[in-house]
């Protein structure tokens, strides 16, 4: 080894050691938060830090599955995560979550009664709802002049190559199941095959299967109809006044993104404080105002301008949701969903 390589190696190891050591420095308690990308008004984090003296390290993910894989792989430790309903179930089944202590979250009282005790967590032992919404159709009123109130319109040849579907197996199969009048959580293979057939018939009419790009495509007027999550629809409608959002009469999927504490969390105390903070009415309001998603917090909703908080496409009432279902984890049947979805896409 020459002298120079030795020096380089020494410098490198010094750098590594100093990195490790600086990671160990614990002058302030730290809270590791793992949330969806752009899913919080970030000024709220600063306020929380100032008020509690807890330093927040904020990371984000793009899909439930990314988050799940990262936590499952171990090596990372987060204190608060924001999985969706079905992912919460999956994580519960795999014993990946800590129980929460509701007595430490007094602001949970602001959460509407109808959003507590959902199927995925009947006693709210592990989670509190953060945001909620529906799946519906976003349409451009300059291209669609008939009323949109049914999933059937997505099979209308008039709109060939003007339709955007979600590139998400559960959601797209759910649309077909709803059209057929079946449960979106069906375990019946015949019903699933029927839904698959329907999606194959629809494929020639579909412009593309998209996820995040959907709202931008609609804003740009690239398509007439899109299956979309309600929060994204709100964004789209703000950007382009020609867009309208409808929840079809056959029913919809009501979804929740919840707050939970994963096993291995180091700052459980802080995690409770953070959840409590987010449920403070004015904080919940600011989040809703920033994101355009519906909050389950009535205290916060009361602060939202009336034209939004009474807009039933954003805040549907119970009677609008009679046919709505929450996704449940399907276990092994998920593989059949996957096979059918692959058949549709490979068709």
């Amino acid at each position: 080894m020459t002298k120079r390589t030795k020096i380089v190696l020494m410098l490198l190891s010094l750098a590594v050691i100093s990195m490790i050591l600086s990671g160990c420095k614990q002058d302030k308690p730290t809270l590791y938060v793992y949330n969806w990308g752009d899913y919080i008004d970030e000024t709220i984090i600063g306020e929380f830090e100032k008020e509690t003296g807890i330093k927040v390290v904020y990371d984000s993910y793009a899909t439930n599955e990314d988050m799940y894989v990262k936590l499952k792989a171990g090596g990372s430790s987060y204190d608060v995560i924001f999985p969706s309903d079905y992912m919460l179930t999956r994580m519960l089944e795999e014993d990946m979550l800590e129980k929460i202590d509701l007595t430490k979250i007094p602001n949970a009282k602001y959460i509407e009664e109808r959003f507590m005790g959902n199927e995925y967590d009947p006693n709210n032992e592990y989670s509190l709802p953060y945001m909620w919404g529906t799946v519906g159709i976003l349409y451009n009123t300059t291209m669609v002049d008939e009323p949109v109130d049914s999933w059937d319109i997505l099979w209308d040849p008039k709109y060939a190559k003007e339709i955007l579907m979600l590139d998400s197996q559960r959601d797209s199969i759910a649309v077909a199941l709803l059209k057929l009048g079946y449960s979106i959580n069906t375990l019946d293979l015949d019903e699933l095959e029927e839904a698959g057939e329907l999606l194959k018939q629809q494929k020639p009419l579909v412009l593309a299967y998209v996820v995040d790009e959907g709202k931008d495509k609609m804003v740009a007027g690239e398509a007439a109809l899109a299956v979309i999550w309600s929060g994204e629809a709100t964004y789209g409608r703000m950007e382009n006044p020609d867009l309208e959002y409808a929840i079809p009469k056959e029913g919809t999927n009501v979804w929740f993104d919840v707050m939970a504490i994963p096993k291995g969390a180091k700052n459980i105390e802080g995690a409770h404080k953070f959840m409590d903070f987010l449920n403070r009415p004015e904080i919940a309001f600011r989040n809703a105002d920033y994101l355009g998603y519906a909050i389950p917090n009535w205290g916060g909703r009361a602060l939202i301008p009336e034209e939004i908080s009474t807009d039933r496409s954003i805040y549907p009432e119970e009677e609008d949701l009679v046919n709505a279902e929450i996704f449940v984890n399907l276990g092994q049947t998920l593989r059949d969903y996957d096979r059918i979805w692959t058949e549709v896409k490979a068709h």
Binding site: T63, E65, D66, Y68, V69, R90, K161, D167, Q169, K203, V206, L207, A208, Y209, V210, E213, K217, A220, G221, E222, L334, R335, Y337, D338, R339, T342, E343, K345, A346
Partner: protein
């Protein structure tokens, strides 16, 4: 070559990041998880040979092949121009090929979305010129375009590196001995450049076969390729066994294609980029 202690870090690195993950893939591919636990099984492989998955495989192979051929047809002349003497601004050309690679791959692919969409740059341009609009976004054409655009440098650079090392004396000798330009190319230049062509083909074909971002963004999710299928198994379905089995089939395909390639490569193995 004497084994020295300097090898140890590399061996450790390879063991941790290559050997162990590979063994894990093999393990998952040959096991199925049932509620009772996991057992050894060939089910994952059997499942892959169902018609729908074969169709996905076939489509992936076809698109990758088409992209590779186009890359070769476009890339070879460019490499020749860069290696030849006629063009004096070689570095500029080289830079033009390399600079886009410094930008994020995803960003470049997203840029194609805005170029190709219905009210996008291309159609605005065509309308201005009084030409009819074209809608190729979300078709297999767009997917091939995306692949060719992204992988072309991987074809050009190895061919260029081989061509630029060919002894000019050989070419002059061929001319002196009466070969015309076409003969010089087919009998001398091209055979000598084969190692570069082979490594170019491998470097384009492999990523083209396994890409999932290009097919999702530019294909509008309608063109499920093998890469999408693998991604789905790991991220959405959580069926690591099946995902690993598909990955192993892919590895076999890539090994096969490399074996075929090295058969064509002949003796001269020095000048490749590898």
């Amino acid at each position: 070559m004497k084994k020295s202690s300097a090898m140890i870090p590399y061996l450790v690195w390879m063991a941790i990041f290559i050997i162990v993950p590979m063994l894990l893939v093999v393990y998952y591919a040959f096991t199925v998880t049932t509620p009772e636990g996991s057992t050894w099984s060939l089910d994952n492989f059997a499942r892959f040979f169902e018609p729908i998955y074969l169709r996905v495989l076939w489509r992936s192979l076809a698109l990758a092949l088409v992209s590779t051929v186009i890359c070769l047809l476009l890339g070879y002349p460019v490499a020749m121009i860069m290696a030849g003497n006629a063009f004096t601004r070689k570095n500029v050309l080289m830079l033009l090929f390399v600079v886009p690679m410094w930008m994020n791959f995803l960003l470049r692919t997203y840029a194609w979305l805005t170029i190709l969409e219905r009210n996008g740059f291309l159609n605005i341009l065509l309308t201005r010129l009084g030409l009819p609009q074209i809608n190729i976004l979300y078709t297999s054409t767009a997917v091939v375009l995306g692949m060719v655009y992204n992988f072309l440098p991987f074809m050009v650079l190895p061919i260029y590196s081989v061509l630029s090392k060919i002894d000019k004396g050989v070419i002059e000798a061929a001319g002196d001995l009466g070969a015309n330009a076409v003969q010089v190319f087919t009998r001398v230049i091209f055979p000598l450049s084969l190692p570069g062509v082979v490594s170019g083909i491998t470097m384009v074909f492999m990523p083209a076969l396994t890409t999932f971002v290009i097919s999702r963004l530019l294909g509008g999710g309608q063109f499920t390729l093998i890469g999408n299928l693998i991604e789905q198994q790991f991220l959405v379905v959580g069926d690591w066994g099946f995902g690993s089995a598909i990955s192993m089939v892919m590895i076999i395909f890539i090994l096969l294609s490399m074996a075929i390639m090295s058969f064509f490569e002949g003796e001269d193995k020095e000048a490749t980029l590898w």
